[in-house]
């Protein structure tokens, strides 16, 4: 599958939040503020690409040749968790500017479904290394997009008359449902 197609599919057509229900916890929790949403989006992009770069070689050059593929879940999640810790330390010490922008979201990302899902799917979809990186970027950008969209909508909804039975989280899911219908239109981008 060519790279442009992977990027489009992962970012828009099969958007990870709105079309595949992954990473909903942070999606609902962090979109009350646009700045938070963007910070979270950047952090997710950063960690997902790094995680892909780390887990893909581990699977293909260590687990598979040694017939240890059944340890995939254990190894991947530990790698992701350790990676997040290391990144946090490194940023805090060496790039305080970047840490200020997204460092606080890093501990929340350890159990982010999106990162986990991407690392597993790189394997099940049989992507080579470059394809995996592109897929990771596409998915994370799609996540960022969904976050920004919902943050914007939530901002508008503060002054809208929401029906009583939908107040609180129900209206957020309704909004997501509508965003999803709009995103389905992107399917036409693929020939």
């Amino acid at each position: 599958m060519d790279l442009g197609k992977i990027l489009l599919l992962s970012m828009l057509v099969n958007n990870i939040v709105v079309m595949r229900f992954i990473a909903l916890c942070s999606y609902i929790g962090m979109t009350s503020d646009l700045g938070q949403s963007m910070g979270m989006g950047y952090a997710v992009t950063f960690v997902t690409v790094l995680a892909t770069a780390a887990t893909w070689p581990i699977y293909h050059y260590i687990l598979l040749p040694l017939d240890l593929a059944f340890l995939q879940i254990l190894v991947f999640i530990l790698v992701i968790a350790s990676l997040v810790q290391l990144v946090e330390f490194y940023l805090k010490k060496n790039i305080p500017g970047l840490y200020a922008a997204m460092g606080i979201y890093l501990p929340l990302i350890t159990t982010n479904c999106a990162i986990c899902a991407v690392t597993f799917e790189n394997i099940t979809n049989n992507y080579n290394f470059i394809q995996s990186i592109v897929y990771a970027i596409g998915v994370s950008l799609g996540y960022l997009l969904a976050m920004i969209l919902l943050a914007g909508i939530r901002d508008r909804m503060k002054t809208s008359p929401v029906p009583k039975f939908l107040q609180g989280t129900p209206i957020l899911f309704m909004a997501t449902s509508l965003i999803g219908i709009a995103f389905m239109g992107f399917a036409g981008l693929i020939k």
């Binding site: 709105v18 079309m19 595949r20 229900f21 992954i22 990473a23 909903l24 916890c25 609902i28 929790g29 059944f70 340890l71 995939q72 879940i73 254990l74 999640i77 530990l78 968790a81 350890t110 159990t111 982010n112 479904c113 986990c116 899902a117 597993f120 799917e121 099940t124 039975f165 939908l166 609180g168 989280t169 129900p170 209206i171 957020l172 899911f173 309704m174 997501t176 449902s177 509508l178 999803g180 219908i181 389905m184």
Partner: protein
Amino acid sequence: MKKLYSIFKQGIIFDNPLLMLMIGLCSAIAVTTNVSNGIGMGLAMTFVLLFSEIIISLFRKLIPSMIRIPIFIIVIAAFTTIVDLVMKAYFPDLSKSMGVFIPLIVVNCIIMGRVEAFASKQDLLSVIADALGMGLGYTWVLVGLAAIRELLGNGTFAGIQVMPASYEPILFFILPPGGFFVFSLFISLNIWLKKKMEAAARRKELVSKKEAA
């Protein structure tokens, strides 16, 4: 015994992990395109939750606080892998249709959350009650969602044709936006149920106070 029962009950409506606590949503809505998947996911999640809570509760004195998160992750990942392997071996169709969501159980916020907040501090029987309660709360929402989506979106229930042949399935419900739509109504329903139960409990309190006076 009563304490155990009240712990068990918590997870079903009041602190329903999906509808009230808003955790573990990832795997939930995605697999509810039909009832078999919903039941399968509910059982898989409950299995991992139950055994992770049991092991961590049994070993809670032997887990140093500094490294507790990595150890929790190891235990949860191990049980998730067991579920994954068993499903691939004996339920291959179910395993394929659930795809990436079985491995995603390992980052299911419910399990991590309950293990950190409850299992690492409570005794064995309490955590069993908690796990079963939370698991049941999770499963009933999944099956409910799946039932509506499959019935309206496909005319079937667990693969069995229920709607009359003339029924034109409403595609919307099987599609992702439909999932969000139905889920949103579920949350709304649960909030209403919770309010009713709280009001009933308050009325009971007032009545018993009056009688005591």
